[in-house]
Amino acid sequence: EAGVAQSPRYKIIEKRQSVAFWCNPISGHATLYWYQQILGQGPKLLIQFQNNGVVDDSQLPKDRFSAERLKGVDSTLKIQPAKLEDSAVYLCASSLDRPPTDTQYFGPGTRLTVL
């Protein structure tokens, strides 16, 4: 089966600019996750969708980050405006249904550099 797709793979922006990341989960997977992984740290969950409803966004900096999952399939994560500390790899993952019992499948990630 095709894996989780993410684009772009790399992005360099200046602080205060805006950026958007796109994720296409594995077909049929109801649950979608966005993680932020800062260099030297483990992935940190930003937001978790179940179909197109938000299950957990407690660690999402809502003053600058937003995410949506239209029609319960693709998802977009946006940062506006970006700060230097947002430099990280942004990982998208999906699972069939009920986390964490169902395995999470990760995408390749988007490496964001904020200058």
Binding site: Q41, L45, P100, T101
Partner: protein, 109 residues
């Protein structure tokens, strides 16, 4: 609050030597524990989970609730085991997964 501690950022072992990657956790309820692995230039992927009680690629991990640990072990390290290993924790139901900072395993030929 849930927390995962991996005390070693880097673990170097010789090929054929035993491996133990340490993981301790903090969680008030009944935890579900996982090990994820990321090989060079590959995606993060699940290695094993405690509820399955399985051995994957020769690795095993036992949940010790008394010591709140979930150490990953392999009796004889192989060069292809060199990778980044993350311990992760979740609660039952629709609970978020919390990852540790990861341990880089380097197997020396």
């Amino acid at each position: 609050a849930q927390r995962v501690t991996q005390p070693e950022k880097l673990l170097s072992v010789f090929k054929g030597a035993p491996v133990e990657l340490k993981c301790n956790y903090s969680y008030s309820g009944s935890p579900e524990l996982f090990w994820y692995v990321q090989y060079s230039r590959q995606r993060l992927q699940l290695l094993l989970r405690h509820i399955s009680r399985e051995s994957i690629k020769g690795f095993t991990a036992d949940l010790n609730k008394g010591e709140t640990s979930f150490h990953l072990k392999k009796p004889f390290a192989q060069e292809e085991d060199s990778a980044m290993y993350y311990c992760a924790l979740s609660g039952a139901g629709y609970q978020k997964v919390t990852f540790g900072i990861g341990t880089k395993l380097q197997v020396i030929p």
